[in-house]
């Protein structure tokens, strides 16, 4: 696989999804006939030379967690290819697979369940060092752990030697960020890292994630349904609905000017902390009775306020709104189908990103 050429620049790709589809259930001999298409024909790339924060957003059942599990290598694509450093994921050697496991690190949603309550928190920090044989010296190990904790804004003396129940949810989640950091990953995949934490503590966690990206150059994939925090910390965004990507681009294009009716509904439904600006009328519910394979056209057609005849019979392609925004909606058909199916081609490249960001604190 030669390096991908994007906007005239040659960059090496860390991970590439090439028309990846993931289905659950089967229509075969023993299957019930219900097939859920959790991720439908998604192409994207994660570059390590251009570290950015990318949000994957959507409601429950949109496929955002399946997509993140695909990226982590814990799901195997049902269709399409996944490439790690240019090599087909299913053909990796043991050593390459091990390397992959170190280079992409997850942070999970629940800071309570990721700990064994009988072990001190040191355990989750010791384990990766031991498993990946990062060092054999005890002194070096302590140094690594302390550095990682300080990086996420925790004081090692106040954290180590304690049990999980002695720490707040925010502290526990930051230890998970520190654990990921120990392995010097290239990509951190955070699946709803703040949804179980109090609003007043969210800021510190998101801030430490943002610092990883800026200071250490780690790419972050932030999976969430909370568009407000997504807008605040990420550079790029992918909006998913029932397994399909409905809109993608930079947050500065997508959030202020959503083009897909689903993105518009999503943004409109965010409870704004402003009593003078309340929700409009109740939106229609999703019809879960039609299975994914029964839908011939756009998956959002049954709830869409702007539905047309074509939406029910034909699947929309990816249309480019401008260089930093794409949508899969027939309302924008006249813009023309994208040549490059890679949705990340609409994302900002790093040099632009840095300029657009506020200065480091």
């Amino acid at each position: 696989m030669p390096p991908v050429r994007r906007r005239g620049q040659v960059v090496s790709t860390f991970l590439e999804l090439d028309h990846v589809t993931k289905t659950f259930g089967s229509q075969g001999m023993f299957g019930s006939g219900d097939v859920t298409v959790a991720v439908d024909d998604v192409s994207l790339t994660i570059d390590e030379d251009e570290p950015s924060i990318t949000t994957v957003a959507g409601e429950s059942g949109s496929g955002k967690t399946t997509l993140s599990r695909l990226l982590l290598g814990s799901h195997v694509p049902s269709g399409g290819r996944m490439l790690y450093r240019g090599k087909d994921f299913t053909k990796l050697t043991r050593r390459e697979r091990r390397n992959f496991r170190r280079e992409i690190q997850p942070i999970f949603q629940d800071p309570f369940e990721s700990y064994n309550p009988f072990y001190k928190v040191d355990h989750v920090l010791d384990a990766p060092i031991k498993n990946f044989k990062l060092t054999s010296s005890t002194r070096e190990k302590h140094q690594m752990i302390e550095d990682a904790l300080e990086m996420v804004g925790l004081v090692p003396e106040e954290t180590l030697g304690r049990f999980p129940h002695q720490l707040s949810g925010g502290q526990r989640q930051r230890i998970m960020v520190a654990r990921a950091l120990l392995l010097k990953p290239r990509v951190i995949l955070a699946d709803e890292p703040v949804s179980m934490v109090d609003a007043s503590l969210r800021a510190t966690i998101l801030d430490s994630i943002r610092r990883l990206n800026r200071d250490l150059g780690i790419s972050v994939v932030y999976v969430t349904h909370d568009l407000t925090t997504a807008y605040q910390i990420s550079d790029n965004i992918i909006i998913m609905y029932r397994g399909t990507v409905v809109e993608a681009g930079t947050v500065d294009e997508v959030i202020p000017n959503p083009q897909h009716p689903y993105t518009q509904l999503l943004i409109e439904s965010i409870p704004q902390p402003d009593p003078k600006n309340r929700w409009g009328s109740e939106p229609p519910q999703q019809d879960w009775d039609t299975t994914d394979t029964q839908i011939a056209g756009c998956r959002f057609a049954d709830r869409c306020p702007a539905v047309m005849d074509i939406c029910r019979t034909k699947k929309p392609a990816q249309y480019l709104i401008n260089k930093n925004q794409l949508t899969t909606c027939f309302l924008h058909e006249e813009k023309g189908e994208m040549e490059n199916p890679d949705i990340t081609s609409t994302f900002q490249i790093e040099s632009e990103t840095i300029k657009a960001r506020p200065a480091n604190q």
Binding site: E59, S60, G61, S168, G169, D198, A199, S200, L201, R202, A203, T204, L206, D207, H225, D226, L227, T228, T229, Y231, Q232, I255, L265, L266, I267, S269, I270, P271, Q272, P273, D274, P275, K276, R278, W279, G280, S281, E282, P283, Q285, W288, P358, Q361
Partner: protein, 344 residues
């Protein structure tokens, strides 16, 4: 003002009456532990009008769920109601016998729990779970409704909460989180209660479903002419849904007032920081958290519990606990900063 807003204001005015539906006075729930008394809910007083939507907000551990459970008299040992009265439609429910209280739950005041979590029985069909409460609340001399009547009731309830009638025959694991929450609401309204206590009804759901659930809850409330007490920590949701807001901190109600006034002019420094910490979709800025952690309820300081985190503290704050002050209209605040204003 847009038409939508005008309709909303009109409906809001039509909904809230001047009748006191719930009057809570000096209500305290304490937990006795080996190390001392935990004052999880301490000396809380507030009034809810008939038809009003009251939102109780606070961080985890601030005592908001303790208060809600205390009002339902569902506090479990070592917790107990230490003092205070709760007048619901003119009847003090703290003095009711256990039997009468059991009858009052669901028919006078109903709890809508976090349905998406574990409040439904996994091995019972939805229809049986809805019918359960109805049958349990029959008077002794009342004839039991026929199977057809019950089916009709279940059907009607499911339609009212926005589910198709076929859901009656399903088990909880066959439903999505939003559908389970709707079932929890159907059970809650099955006996037309006068007060609905909704404890974080949408905390596990995503924004579009959350909006649908809250709007359904509002519609049901209007149909029943009931009052709602919403317990939660999402300030955005409160701003969208409630008429009145109560802010809890370390077991005390520190500020109460109409939602518009509290959001546009928060008085208590904690409320101010809480509103200031909300991320916005309009502008990108650095995150502002509230520095520090809430105190442990077992070792409360002598003075104000927020003193060590408060940006406007002065000498008096460490010395004595601020009392609730009325600062005009329906606005109460418990902060030493406003004592001078009230006297003058």
């Amino acid at each position: 003002m847009s038409t939508e807003q005008a309709i909303q204001t009109y409906r809001q005015d039509a909904r809230i009456t001047d009748v006191d539906a719930l009057v809570v006075k000096n209500f305290s729930v304490y937990y006795e532990t080996d190390t001392g008394t935990v004052k999880a809910c301490d000396d809380v007083s507030f009034t809810l009008k008939q038809g009003e939507r009251f939102a109780l907000v606070g961080e985890s551990g601030s005592g908001k769920t303790t208060l809600a459970m205390g009002l339902m008299r569902l506090t479990r040992p070592p917790g107990h109601i230490a003092s205070g009265s709760v007048m619901l439609n003119g009847r003090d429910i703290t003095t009711l016998s256990d039997d009468d209280m059991r009858k009052a739950r669901l028919s006078d005041l109903a709890l809508v729990p976090q349905g998406a979590m574990n409040s439904l029985n996994p091995v019972m069909r939805i229809e049986h779970q809805i019918v359960d409460g109805i049958l349990d609340h029959l008077e002794e001399d009342e004839p039991a409704p026929t199977k057809e009547e019950l089916q009709e009731t279940v059907r009607d309830l499911l339609i009212r909460v926005g589910l198709r009638p076929g859901v009656a025959r399903l088990f909880p694991h066959e439903l999505s989180g939003g559908m389970k929450q709707r079932v929890a609401m159907a059970i809650g309204i099955s006996l037309r209660p006068r007060l609905i206590i909704a404890d974080e009804p949408t905390s596990a759901l995503d924004v579009v479903v959350q909006r649908q659930i809250m709007q359904t809850l509002g519609r049901l409330q209007e149909g029943l002419d009931a009052s709602i007490m919403l317990v939660g920590h999402d300030m955005g949701l409160v701003a969208q849904f409630a008429d009145t807001i109560g802010v809890m901190y370390a077991g005390k109600l520190v500020e109460v007032g109409p939602v518009e006034e509290v959001f546009s002019d928060p008085k208590h420094p904690y409320t101010r920081l809480l509103i200031g910490s909300l991320p916005s979709l309009k502008e990108k800025r650095e995150f502002l958290g509230i520095p520090g952690l809430p105190p442990q309820l077992i070792f409360l300081p002598k003075g104000c519990a927020f003193e060590d985190r408060c940006p406007s503290r002065f000498e008096k704050c460490a010395g004595s606990v601020p009392q609730k002050l009325n600062i005009g209209g329906r606005r109460d605040v418990a902060c030493h900063l406003y004592e001078g204003e009230v006297k003058s």
